[in-house]
Structure formats: C-alpha cells, structure tokens
Symmetry: C2
DNA sequence: CTGCTAATTAGCAATTGATGCGAATTGCGT
DNA sequence: ACGCAATTCGCATCAATTGCTAATTAGCAG
C-alpha cells in the first residue's frame, strides 16, 4: 500500500473523495503488518475518532482493495484479514490465537496434473502454533 | 475417508449411531472429488431422502471432520467445502465458478524468517480459471 | 470565497453461512 | 422387546458483511 499522501492523490484522481475517516484509515494501515480484521481496525479507528462507523471502515477497505492497495484474505478465522503488503509473500497463521505473520519463502512450486487450468496466482498458508502461544 | 461400511463400524465404536441420514451422506461423500459445500450435499441428499434437514447434514459433516474422516476447508468462496480426501494434496480453485480441483504437487517449501513458529501443516491454494470457464 | 453536485457517512435493516436449543423420534446394546 | 442416550429437524440465534437512504461533506468551477 502506498503512503497516505500518495493515496490521497490516487483517490482524488479516481474521483473518490478524501475524508478524515479515510485519512485515518490510511494512517492505521500504512506499514501495518498485523493483518487486522475490519473489527480490529474499527476499534483502533474509534479511539482516534469516536463515532466513526463500522460501515465506513468496510467501505474504505473495499475501496482500497478494489484499487489494489491492499488484499483482503480469508484464512477461515471467522473474518477477513487485510494486508497492506501487496508484494509477493506468504502467511503463517496461529491455530491458537489466529495471529497472522508474514513469511518469506521461495515461490510456490509449479502445480501439475490439471490440464487447461490457467493459474493466476498461488498462495501458501502455514498453520501451527506461534511463539507467543507456545509458552 | 473410509468406506461407508468401515465408517459404520467406526461410528458405533465411538458411541455414535448410524442412521439412514448418515448412511446416505457416507455414500454421497465416499470417493467424491467435487469438494461440495454443505448446501450442495443437502441438495443431493434431499433428492434421495426428501425431508432430510440441512441441520443434520451439517451435524454429520462436523462429526466426520471431528473423526478426521474429511476436512472442512474455507477457500473464501462463501461457504466451507468438504474434502473426503485426507491424504496430502493441494487445491486449485476457479475464480469464475468456485470449482475446486485436487492437485498433486511436491510438498510446500519450508518457510523461513519466523522464529519459534511450530508448523503443523502447510496448504497451497492455486487460483485461476478452470478449463470449463476458459471456453 | 461561494455554491453546486456527486460522493460519503452512518445507522439500521437485511442477508448468508453456520450453530444453539429442545421436543419428538430412533438406533442399538442388553 | 426395553430403555436410554443419541439423533433428527425446525426454528431461533449469531456473526460477518452488505444494502439502503437521508443527511452531510469534499472539492471543483466560477
């Protein structure tokens, strides 16, 4: 995801408006590696801007995802997780606390045995117990 | 997943009862490589046994999953998919029609860069367009 | 700076996949 | 054949997310 300043440009150029709510979310997401859910972002946003609507959080997240600035990923943890890191990487998910960590790995292996399937991308999810929960 | 006959044994040994509803689902799932959702299974089951409850379908699927006879997988397609193939394999999911295909691949690469994360398993999801939707 | 207009906000209703609950039913060991 | 615990199934409930819409606001043109 680009910086808040760059996103401001990009939004205006697309005909989208840059509201205080959106600027707040830009800031909360930029450089965030915690893979927050909409709920968590809503809680964080509410601290800085009481009264902000959960609906608005979803709206902005969807806008950012549509622009390719972040990815919405479903790890089966009950709610979608949002990742402002759109570079090629993988994830490790804790079975205990549902924490999501970024993982650097060599690319996923080529698949075989499926004729005519046009692969757009591959995603690896490692599951296990994170360092915090292991103690 | 084991054969209906073997499952019948296993269920009784665990103190679970083998009802006509369950036998029907055993049959529908055995050797099924279509990765059906609960909805789809309910539709199939309803043809053979009108009046069967969706609740019962979920119940039986959960029982089978708890016994390790099938896996419930969330591909983010809106509903959980059930896979009676519990051997090591991967999946390819069509972005158009949400079809899920089994894929034979070498194991997922070892991950690196995460200290103290105890990996239990890894799962690769390939996404793209299936042969049917490409035409 | 002012006004205009389309975009946005926010609250509530609605939707969807899945589970909790409980009365009536039924498998199955004795 | 009996009895009890497991099961079925319909309905209510829940959680995550989206639809709807009146009131507000960003941001452009003049």
């Amino acid at each position: 995801m680009r910086s808040p300043a760059e996103l401001t440009q990009a939004f205006r150029q697309t005909g989208l408006k840059v509201t205080p709510q959106r600027q707040l979310l830009f800031g909360l997401l930029h450089g965030n590696t915690s893979h927050p859910s909409a709920d968590v972002l809503f809680a964080l946003a509410s601290e800085a801007m009481p009264g902000i609507s959960l609906r608005t959080v979803y709206q902005t997240l969807n806008d950012l995802a549509a622009m390719g600035e972040l990815q919405s990923i479903d790890f089966g943890t009950g709610s979608a997780r949002f990742d402002p890191n759109v570079t090629d990487h993988q994830h490790a998910v804790c079975n205990e606390c549902d924490a999501v960590h970024d993982v650097r790995v060599s690319r996923a292996p080529k698949m075989s045995g499926l004729e005519g399937f046009d692969i757009h991308d591959a995603h690896i999810v490692y599951r296990g117990i994170c360092a915090d929960c292991a103690s």
